[in-house]
Every structure is written in structure tokens, then in C-alpha cells.
Symmetry: C2
Subunit: 338 residues, 2 copies
């Protein structure tokens, strides 16, 4: 059998992930095995393309949340392994389709799959991974887990369509932006955390707490991700610097800067983000406008707020190592911006 | 609530569909209602694009198979309605992604969704419809139905990737071609027919019979569909004439003609299908070569063979109106070529 190149977990500079990495590492190895196993197909392009993404050194935050939640809920079976693999497949499928939609050439500092295998293969292999994800969930046999994850699948796609409709639209409000990131990003974080407790058949209050934890964490994560695109720190995330700017993606730093901007600045945003007419030096100007209005700070302030909601949600559980590790994840997601 | 423009069922020229249309019409109205209901979203583009496809006058053969099978199995609940709607959503999602992959401009004689709303929306709305399909299936709550349909979702996507990998490849064998159409087309016909009996909790033998019926019917359907693309009869299907030829899709009529062809003909296929260098008059020449080797006839002969397998599978059930109507569907799929 194939050997998975493990993501560079141990050397992660951010100490805040150390606890969750250590506590989930054995189960995450089992998840990796399932992931490799379910990416097998006689059609060569499927394992090739799937491995390209899976081996690319993502942190596998989402499946790790499923494993951690199951542990927090005192779950003792092995269903959380398959569910965590399903969560990662759902995420991978979304990345593949996202890159096609955004016409991205890089993902985590590597060439994107669509650049290497084409848009067509990316669309279809994404569909295959989603199909495999559902097949795995069905094999687990928990209708409540299926309900949570199938709901997330529809909400994520709806969020992606919302984002597409808001592209280049400078009238997008902060509320619309929050609705978009809640759906496209936070829904999977939320479902990933909730299913861990769902298979342990824990009371509704615990499921709700983990759902809130995951959702708030996901919103904070995306707020930081979007803010970094204008902070010159994007290379830390393996993103192209200014990706969102070039794609006409309307994120919070821009929404706030547009609102506060003078006529010149608004004309600049309209020409660049609104009409996609981007010239040399425009990204630098965008960064300096955003900087002047301190809207990165405002974005990060909101991220900290959602981070505190995530932390508070965990109060339902008594203190232990897993709970602490899950709270550390919140800190990690916010602190990577600093 | 919105009113669905019903597909032009009653005026269908082919009398062979009359029986199944009549027997399923009440339930299919309920299916139409669910389809409309589940295509609702605050994101305008979702219902717009979904309606464009749903209203475009497809025959809804696949969900009709689910309704008919449930009736054949003596099922008395209402789960078959939601499952049939799920089947149609799965099919619609596939069509959306197919058109993006094939760069098709027309679908059933109307502009394709990707031409009207763009590739990006087609990919994402396809994902949304697939998510909704799974949500509906989970609500039905039958693990056996979920197993059958989630399996089909993965197999269909794998078949689409196989087809993509075989594009322009003139060394594709008849067996590979059969594997492709079994996966990309017949898997959903098969699952659609099987789930009807699965929710009725019928014995394994009946499930297997309906699975075989659906699979063989699906293979026959696709064989005929592909054959028509070289027969000058494609307008009957609302397809662009010569679509497959222009897209470099290697279908059976070509595989057989290439095998039987002389050097000149092989060079012609290599230049056109293999290298995509298509000039004026090439489609006509392709049709005349296929005609000379009678490979449309060979394709239809195989379709008739699979049709007989489908008919024979129905021997498990005692004679009644539904069984007869389902056998008529086999005749319809084959006779539309004549």
C-alpha cells in the first residue's frame, strides 16, 4: 500500500496546535489510511489528483476537530475515523471546485490541481471525492451524523454560490459577507465538530455547544484568512498574495474600507474590484488604503470576538486536556495573523 | 408557490411511454412539487438555473423508474416521492457538470446553463443540487436506499472521469466503452430502479432483478444515444448533431469503425477525434464512414441485447400493468433510434 507523506505537523511553528496534534495523532494516522484507501481507483487520474491535494501539507484541521470532539464526548468506537475522513474528502472536493471557480493557479504554495490536470478533471474528481465521502458516511450508519454532514454539503455549496453572486459587487454588506463565510467555511467546521459528539449519542446541549464552537471557529478562521490577503502576510498561508483582490472577491477589509473611503478611493475600488481592471501597483495601493483605514484590524477584532464565542461554547464541558487543546485551536486560528 | 411547466409528456410521439406516464403521473406531480420546493434558495441564481434545467422538458425517466419500482414492489408509503426527487437532482447535477466539462452550448435544444450563467455557477449549483439530493435521502431515513444512491453517486463520477481520460483516445476498447457507460449512465438507472424496492423492504432477489433491469436499460439507453450522434437523427434528442464528434468523445460506432477502417480512414479519425483538428465536411465524412461499416447497426444490435437482458430481469415479477409499462420503457429506449 501507498505511504502517505504526512503533513508537516510536528514542525509547525505555532505551538498552539501542539496539543491537538499530539492528542489526535494516532487516530489521524488511521484517518490518513482511510483517505488513501478511498482515493484508490482504476482510473489513474483520481488517485494522482487526490494525492496531490492530500499530500500537500494542509493541516487537516477539520478532520482533527471530528476526532477531538469524539474524544471530548468520550466516544469509544471507531466511527469517528471514517467520519473524519469523510469531512476531509468533503473539504478536498470543495477546494478542487473552488480552484476551478476562482481560476486559482496555486494552492498551499503548490501548483493547483486544475493547472496540472485541467478544470475538467478537477470538477469530476471533486464529484468523485464527494461521492466517496457520502459512501463512507453511509457505511458508518449513523443517521444523525448523515443529517449533520449532508446538511453541511448543501449549505457549503449555497455559500459558494452566494460568494460567486457577490463577486465584484461593492454593495455587499458586512452581513452578507458574514452569511457567505458562515456557509462556505464555518458550516464544515461546525459539522466536523458536531458529528464527533453525535456518534457518541451525547445530549443535545453538548451537540449544540460543539456546533457553536465549530461555527464560531470557522468564522474566525475565514475572517483571518481574508484579512491576511491584504496584509502582505499571505505567503504564510501558501496563498498567492492579493488573490482575493485579483479575483474581485469582496471581503470584510474591503467592505469596511469602501464604506469609509473618499471619492478617489471608491473610484479605485470600483475600477479594480468592481470592473476587474487591475494595473501595476494597484495591489500595493489597495493594501495601503486598507492599511490607512485600519480595516484589517477591524477584521481581526471581529475574528477575536468569534474566537471568544467559540471558547465560551466549550464551557459546557468540564476541564480536561482535549478541551484545552480545542481551545488552543481557536488561539491558533487567530494568532496566525500576528 | 411557483408552478412547474410540466414536461411535454402527453404529446410524446412514442406510444411506448404512455403506460408508464399514466401510471406514475399522480406521484410524478408530487415529485415535481418537491423538486421545485428544494430548488428554492435566497440566492437567486440557484432557483433560476435549476428551473432552466428542470423545466426544459426532459422526460424524467429516472425518477419515473423509482416511482414505478416502488409501485411494482407494492410500496404504500411516500418515501418513494422524495427518493425520486433525489434521483432527478443527482441527474440534474451531473448534467450541469457534464456541460461544463464538454463545453456544451446546447442541452435538449435550449441554451445550456453554462452558456447562460457561466461555468462557475454551473459547477456550484450542481454541487448544491447534489447536496440537496443527499439531504432529501437522509430525511427519508432508509440506510439501504442511502447505500444504493451514495454508491451510484461515486460510480457516476468515476465513470465521468474514465470518459474524460478516454477522450481523443482511439485505442479505447469496446470493453472500456461499456465500463464507461455502465458507470456514467447505467449506475443511476440501476439505483433509481433498485431504491423503489429497497424502501418496500422486498427480498434481495427482487432488488437484484430491478438493479439488473435498470442497469441494462441504462446501457441500452446510452448505446442508442451515442449511436444517434452519428445517424443524423440527433435533433430528435435535442442534441447538437455531431456533438460527440466535435468533443473527441470515443463512442462505440467510432471504436468499431476505427477497428474495421482502412489506413485512410484511421488517419481521418486520428486527425479529427484524436487531435481535434476538425474541418468543414468532416462530420459528414465521419457519418459516411460509420455508415459504410454499419457500426450504428452494430451499436443498436448491442442495445437490443441489453434491452432483452432488462426485459428478462423482470421475469421475477408476476405480470401486471406496472411490469408491462416498465418493459415498454425498454422498447421506448431502443425504438427511439428507428
Amino acid at each position: 500500500m501507498d505511504v502517505l507523506v504526512p503533513p508537516d505537523r510536528t514542525h509547525d511553528t505555532n505551538i498552539k496546535l501542539q496539543n491537538i496534534l499530539a492528542l489526535t495523532s494516532e487516530d489521524m494516522s488511521a484517518v490518513d489510511h482511510i483517505i488513501l484507501d478511498k482515493a484508490i481507483s482504476d482510473v489513474d487520474i483520481i488517485p494522482e489528483l487526490a494525492h496531490h491535494l492530500i499530500d500537500s501539507g494542509g493541516k487537516r484541521l477539520r478532520p482533527m476537530l471530528t476526532i477531538a470532539s469524539a474524544k471530548l464526548a468520550g466516544y469509544s468506537g471507531d466511527k469517528h475515523i471514517s467520519l473524519a475522513a469523510s469531512v476531509e474528502f468533503m473539504h478536498t472536493a470543495t477546494l478542487l471546485h473552488d480552484d476551478v471557480v476562482d481560476e486559482s493557479n496555486f494552492r498551499r504554495g503548490k501548483k493547483s490541481a486544475r493547472l496540472m490536470w485541467g478544470n475538467q478533471a478537477s470538477v469530476l474528481v471533486g464529484d468523485f471525492l464527494l461521492g466517496q465521502a457520502f459512501r463512507m458516511m453511509v457505511d458508518v450508519g449513523s443517521l444523525s451524523a448523515l443529517r449533520i454532514l449532508s446538511n453541511a454539503a448543501a449549505v457549503i455549496a449555497e455559500g459558494e454560490v452566494m460568494q460567486l453572486a457577490a463577486t465584484k459587487d461593492l454593495t455587499t454588506t458586512e452581513n452578507s459577507y458574514l452569511a457567505i463565510i458562515s456557509a462556505k467555511t464555518a458550516a464544515l467546521f461546525s459539522a466536523a465538530a458536531e458529528v464527533g459528539a453525535a456518534i457518541a449519542e451525547r445530549p443535545e446541549s453538548e451537540l449544540t455547544a460543539l456546533k457553536t464552537y465549530g461555527k464560531s471557529l470557522g468564522i474566525a478562521f475565514q475572517l483571518v484568512d481574508d484579512a491576511l490577503d491584504y496584509s502582505g502576510e499571505s505567503r504564510k498561508l501558501g496563498k498567492d498574495v492579493g488573490d482575493d483582490f485579483r479575483e474581485g472577491k469582496i471581503t470584510l477589509a474591503v467592505i469596511l474600507a469602501y464604506r469609509k473611503g473618499n471619492n478617489d478611493e471608491r473610484a479605485f475600488w470600483k475600477r479594480t474590484l468592481g470592473e476587474g481592471e487591475i494595473r501595476d501597483g494597484d495591489l500595493e495601493r489597495a493594501i495601503s488604503i486598507v492599511d490607512r483605514h485600519k480595516t484589517i484590524d477591524s477584521s481581526l477584532e471581529r475574528a477575536r470576538f468569534y474566537g471568544s464565542v467559540a471558547r465560551n461554547a466549550m464551557a459546557t464541558f468540564s476541564d480536561n486536556k482535549i478541551k484545552k487543546a480545542m481551545i488552543d485551536v481557536v488561539d491558533f486560528c487567530i494568532e496566525r495573523a500576528s
